[in-house]
């Protein structure tokens, strides 16, 4: 477990905490025209591209061999500059030992336009010459699917296209490689067939899985592209959250964990050729026909969640329904937006609920300890079959007034938790004044870009110190305030302001 010490918040120095940020993403500056040293060779590479959701999820398993004379430990993975910013949840593990955790990864700074950007994977132990390692690389690419045709009729099927290179982009020479595409259905009207890359038909089709390759590419220079475009049916909304703001407010006095989430949502699917027709919508709703519009969002809530609300800028949205949890099962919040969200339409809203704090917070080691451990989901979000992509997520954990020595950690398992490595989560501690605070509440703000709903299950652990004196500050302040008012009133009442002598 690695802890990133956020800050030591002095009791009376709230200005200090705003200044100390601890984790800013590491970015390597590269000289222009940089080429990764050709010290590795990919012996075998298999790329799995999953198109079942509204974003692209790729996992690459590659056997890497050191062809240099020295042991090497920096492996470069290139992406074109325009794709690079939309790559999320990038992680690399040792395929043979995934439970050992993910490798450290750095970003490179943009050097020149049109050039490649790199993820630099630091192998935990340098790879000796001639030896091999199998890397499992996984990531998602947001907003890389475009609808074609771009405008459709209301009841039409929606098709998405995805373009990629038959040769997996790599900084090193690859001996053999293949790409497996998994489509949501067997309805794939258009796809590129390659000529002369391999013998036999390419791609090979098997149900909803199409395989390009295997190609023998030992002679092909790294960076060579062979464009492939596929177009497949996806009559589901392409739900994109431009911004999600999530607030978790911890109240020791109330024993309550309040959650509020604000969504700015958009459907990036095909737009409507004509305007919206209520008649057609009523009929298609009646038939429960598949549609490219967002009809409803289902949001599973943790057991014990109470008082949910669903509002937007102009008040309560009366079309929601909450099915509370029974026993240990999750509750379900069924959110129906005010109107169906068709391609190109926006919808912003906020939801919130309360939980009993006891199931998330505990004292660290010992009853008298002033140290607390809070374990909460980093993001939750609706659970939809078609998936949701988040372009930017800002999570604020509002701790009680006077909490200090704040540290956080994201839990990791043996497989991807949908989050980038911890260095790429931008963290900051500040203070927030609300509800008659004097110092302000310690607030931990985490910012992550390019997430998908795979991060739903990730857990955030925050530890902080909070003493009895901190807890008693507010009652004392209110008491002192009221006392001042009464004394002032009494004093003013004693003053004689009459003109004539009594």
């Amino acid at each position: 477990m690695r802890f990133f010490t956020a800050t030591v918040l002095g009791l009376l120095a709230p200005s200090l905490c705003a200044a100390t940020n601890l984790t800013t993403p590491n970015r390597l500056d590269l000289p222009s025209g940089f080429k990764p040293p050709q010290v590795f060779k990919n012996t075998n590479l298999v790329r799995n591209t999953n198109l079942e959701k509204s974003y692209v999820r790729e996992t690459i398993n590659v056997v890497v061999e050191n062809v240099d004379k020295q042991p090497q430990n920096d492996y470069y993975i290139p992406f074109s500059a325009e794709v690079f910013d939309r790559v999320g949840a990038f992680e690399v593990r040792d395929k043979k030992a995934p439970e050992k955790g993910r490798f450290d990864v750095d970003y490179t700074e943009a050097v020149s336009s049109g050039g490649n950007q790199y993820f630099v994977v630091h192998l935990p132990e340098p790879l000796a010459p001639k030896s091999q390692i199998t890397l499992g690389i996984s990531y998602s690419v947001l907003s890389s699917l475009s609808p074609l045709p771009a405008t459709i009729q209301q009841a039409d099927k929606q098709y998405l296209t995805y373009s990629f290179s038959a040769y997996t982009p790599s900084a090193y020479t690859t001996d053999t490689q293949k790409t497996k595409l998994k489509f949501p259905s067997t309805n794939v009207p258009d796809y590129t067939t390659t000529d002369g890359l391999k013998s036999g038909s390419d791609p090979e089709r098997k149900g909803a899985t199409y395989t390009y390759g295997p190609y023998d590419t030992a002679k092909v220079a790294p960076g060579t592209e062979h464009p492939i475009t596929v177009r497949y049916e996806f009559t589901k909304p392409v739900i994109t959250v431009n911004l999600l703001e999530r607030d978790l407010e911890v109240s020791h006095w109330g024993g309550n964990l309040a959650t509020e989430e604000r969504y700015w949502l958009r459907n990036n699917g095909s737009q409507l050729t004509n305007q919206f027709s209520r008649v057609d919508w009523t009929y298609s709703n009646y038939q429960k026909a598949p549609t490219s519009a967002v009809r409803e969002l289902t949001y599973p809530l943790l057991p014990g969640s109470v008082d949910p609300y669903f509002i937007d800028d102009i008040g309560n949205v009366s079309t929601s329904r909450y099915r509370p949890s029974v026993g240990k099962s999750a509750g379900n919040l069924e959110l129906k937006p005010r109107y169906p969200i068709f391609g190109g339409w926006n919808y912003s809203f906020r939801i919130g609920w309360n939980n009993d704090l006891a199931s998330f917070l505990r004292r660290a080691a010992g009853v008298d300890s002033d140290s607390y451990v809070l374990k909460v989901p980093l993001i939750e979000g609706p659970k939809m079959a078609e998936g949701i992509q988040y372009e930017r997520v800002i999570v604020r954990v509002v701790l009680p007034e006077g909490a200090h020595n704040v540290r956080f950690e994201v839990l990791e398992g043996s497989h991807s938790n949908g989050l980038p490595v911890a260095e790429h989560i931008h963290a900051q501690v500040s203070s927030l004044k609300t509800y008659m605070d004097t110092l302000g509440r310690t607030t931990l703000t985490l910012e992550v870009d390019s997430l998908t709903d795979e991060a739903r299950d990730s857990k955030l652990v925050v530890t902080y110190d909070h003493s009895m004196i901190d807890a008693l500050r507010k009652p004392f302040t209110i008491f002192a305030g009221l006392l001042t008012v009464f004394v002032a009133a009494w004093g003013i009442g004693k003053i004689d302001v009459s003109i004539k002598k009594r």
């Binding site: 004509n274 305007q275 919206f276 027709s277 209520r278 008649v279 009523t282 937007d312 800028d313 102009i314 008040g315 309560n316 949205v317 009366s318 079309t319 005010r338 109107y339 190109g344 339409w345 926006n346 919808y347 912003s348 004044k433 609300t434 509800y435 008659m436 605070d437």
Partner: protein, 741 residues
């Protein structure tokens, strides 16, 4: 012993303290009851701004809170009355917004994060609690009985006549204005009683606040001079009256002139002339009083007569001259309609089209005031019995307010306070007489028997009102009336006055509540999915709501300051597409919003308001829009097969029924509001296209088509798209010329 220990608490100085404490507790309870009875809509629906005007006030408050006071003061709003805009900062009463802004900032200072919307929603209930307290003070000045004030406060707290304008969410000027009205009157009575400059100045201060809050301040401006004038006529001139009136008038007028919207009206408008006149008169009277001390009676008489004639002549002549030359503005239309209820209908249809400007129906008095209305004359009668200066005020107020309440529904609001005062006076008198009055002691009985033996009734004192029987009967019936009053008030508040009207509620067969939220559905769609400066045209009723909820520029709104602009919209709605389209283009309209209740049976829709649009348009363009054309030969207003061509071709008709028929089996389309079967074919729209229709079809939005790419007119383009052959006939007639004006 229990009784003696009770005596310690109830008698002597500690008894006074106990009663004082009890009174405070009762008043707090009354205030709490007043607040809580106004929360029906919050509990039943949500914390939401109601109706139409409050949406503007809410939007203005948000602007004030976001941009600060000075930019609010100079606010030019280019998102309403497109393309004219509105000098909003100078054409509103800022009192309401500033009050909520101040509350907001105080709470922020205490770092209590309260949403400005919640302050706005709960402002009216909060102030109604204060009104109850002010009512207690006012009534206590009128009567010696300690119960009168408490009764009046309780009545004011829950009477539907006041609740109708002050439920939670009804964020309108009246929300704070009634408190200010009652409190100003209290201060005025206090000033007249004491002849104190301080109370007079306080009256002026609160009068100034009232001016900043509500146009109804004119009522105070005229009532106080009238009170003074009547006192003068009754020969009750005193330095007390002089001091309080002159202080109030001088400071109050200066204060009121600080509001940009009022400005120089207090010295230039006829509505305010009576205050000025009485101010002059009281100077003359004071002067005459002064002279009287120095002159013999005969000469004084002569001087007085000549002076009165001279001043009257000069004053009247001056007034006529100034009015004719236009320095003094003539009486406003709204004011005329107070005297002649038929005036507005003939001359200003826009005023008549507002339902709250209609004359009051008689049952409304009982509905809004219940048993207070028949206690009211009794209370006024009792004022005549005492007739001190303050009672004269009650009498004048009663007479004036009764008249105005009869003329206009919304003025019921100004009648309510005085009804509460009068009814409380009457009821407290009854209760005091029957509860407190003790049987005359044996000594007085003995006296009475010795003095007048022949009076039989006096021989036995345990008859009449002294008997337990009569006491219990009267007290029981009064209690019953009071209980019924509470029940009535609660029922009326809950059923009649607590609907936000933005959200409609209906009951499902199983008794659960079903919410129809079409307005917000459409407004939110507009807010999220149209360009930020898309212009929306709708009938003016929805202007404020579009501005508040959809946040888009509108052509006309509920601030009906420009009749011509409203008539333009009326003309666009009631004309043929060929006429309407150029109007829409000229005004940059992107979307047109209509409200249609035909599917649901929602009767407040645009087709039912349509005749007002026609009438208002006819007022400006009598040659182009004619109300008669929308009635059939037999004088019926129909929307079915028999509808007149003008009706069927009007934009409003087409937009309401566009594509509606396809919801039904062929020929079965029904309009559930007007209860008629519609024509088989749905009307053909050429220049507009349906952009959005809400779930229950209440709100329909149409996008105005751009000019055709090939230069055809829209009817040809649509016909071509449908694959119809171009009709020869139209060609023979020659191209249709677009009328632009």
């Amino acid at each position: 012993m229990a009784p003696s220990s009770l005596d310690v608490v109830l008698k002597g100085s500690s008894g006074r303290n106990t009663r004082g404490l009890l009174r405070v507790i009762i008043l707090c309870t009354i205030a709490a009851a007043a607040v809580s009875s106004r929360l029906f809509s919050v509990i039943r629906f949500e914390s939401i701004i109601h109706e139409f005007d409050p949406w503007f006030n809410f939007r203005a408050t948000k602007y004030l809170v976001e941009n600060g006071f000075y930019s609010f003061w100079d606010w030019f709003d280019d998102r309403t009355w497109h393309p004219l805009g509105r000098v909003t900062g100078g054409t509103l009463y800022p009192g309401l917004m500033v009050t909520s802004g101040v509350i907001y900032h105080i709470l922020r200072l205490l770092t209590i994060p309260v949403d400005i919307r919640n302050i706005c929603v709960l402002l009216a209930p909060g102030f109604s609690g204060l009104t109850a307290l002010a009512m207690y003070l006012l009534t206590s000045e009128m009567s010696d009985s300690p119960s009168a004030g408490l009764l009046a406060a309780a009545f004011m707290g829950i009477t539907p006549g006041y609740i109708s304008r002050s439920v939670a969410g009804s964020y309108d000027n009246e929300a704070i204005a009634i408190f200010l009205l009652v409190f100003t009157f209290y201060l005025w009575i206090k000033a007249v009683k004491n002849g104190s400059i301080m109370w007079g100045a306080l009256t002026a201060l609160f009068y100034g606040y009232m001016v900043s809050a509500w146009g109804g301040y004119v009522f105070i401006t005229n009532l106080i001079p009238l009170h003074v004038f009547v006192l003068l006529c009754m020969g009750r001139y005193s330095t007390r009256v002089y001091i309080s009136y002159t202080t109030w008038y001088a400071l109050g007028t200066l204060g009121s002139m600080q509001i940009p919207f009022v400005g120089f009206l207090p010295i230039r408008n006829s509505d305010h002339m009576s205050a000025l006149g009485v101010f002059g008169l009281i100077q003359l009277v004071a002067f005459a009083e002064f002279i009287r001390g120095y002159l013999p009676g005969k000469q004084f008489q002569k001087l007085l007569t000549s002076m009165v004639l001279l001043t009257f002549g000069l004053g009247f002549g001056g007034l006529v001259l100034l009015s004719v030359s236009g320095v003094i503005a003539p009486w406003s239309g709204r004011f005329y309609s107070l005297w002649d209820t038929g005036y507005a209908k003939i001359h200003i249809p826009i005023i008549a089209s507002v339902s709250e400007h209609q004359p009051t129906a008689w049952p409304a008095f009982f509905f809004d005031l219940n048993f207070l209305i028949w206690l009211f004359p009794a209370g006024v009668f009792m004022c005549f019995q005492k007739l001190k200066d303050e009672h004269v005020f009650v009498v004048i107020y009663s007479v004036l307010a009764s008249y105005f309440a009869g003329v206009m529904v919304r003025l019921m609001l100004t009648l309510t306070p005085i009804v509460c005062v009068a009814a409380a006076l009457a009821l407290s008198c009854i209760l005091d007489n029957f509860l407190v009055a003790s049987t005359p002691s044996t000594e007085t009985k003995a006296k009475a028997t010795t003095e007048d033996k022949s009076l039989r009734s006096a021989r036995n004192p345990v008859v009449g009102i002294y008997s337990w029987f009569s006491k219990s009967v009267v007290v029981a019936s009064v209690t019953l009336y009071l209980l019924m009053f509470v029940a009535h008030c609660t029922w009326v508040t809950s059923n009649a006055y607590s609907s936000p009207s933005v959200v409609l509620a209906s009951k499902l067969p199983d008794g659960s509540q079903f919410i129809i939220d079409d307005y917000r559905e459409a407004y939110y769609w507009l807010r999220q999915n149209t360009p930020d400066n898309a212009k929306i045209m709708s009938w003016w009723d929805y202007g404020y709501q579009i501005g508040g909820m959809a946040d888009r520029p509108t052509l006309v709104d509920n601030n009906t300051w420009n009749n011509t602009h409203i008539a333009t919209v009326g003309k666009a709605m009631s004309s043929r597409e060929e006429v309407s389209y150029p109007i829409l283009r000229q005004h940059d309209v992107d979307y047109v919003l209509v409200v249609f209740g035909g599917l649901l049976g929602y009767s407040g829709d645009d087709l039912n308001k349509f005749l007002w649009m026609v009438r208002i348009a006819e007022g400006i363009w009598p040659d182009e829009v004619k109300e008669r054309d929308f009635f059939t030969a037999r004088g019926e207003y129909r929307v079915d097969e028999e509808a007149t061509p003008a009706m069927k071709n009007s934009l409003m008709y087409k937009m309401s029924y566009h594509n509606y028929q396809s919801l039904f089996p062929a020929g079965q389309a029904m309009d559930r509001v007007r209860g008629t079967r519609l024509p088989k074919e749905s009307p053909q729209l050429n220049t507009l296209e349906e952009a959005f229709t809400s779930e229950n079809w209440i709100v329909r939005l149409y996008k105005v088509k751009d000019l055709d790419n090939l230069g055809r007119d829209h009817s040809n383009a649509v016909a071509f798209d449908k694959g119809l052959k171009r009709k020869r006939a139209t060609k023979r007639k020659g191209p249709r010329v677009l009328r632009t004006e």
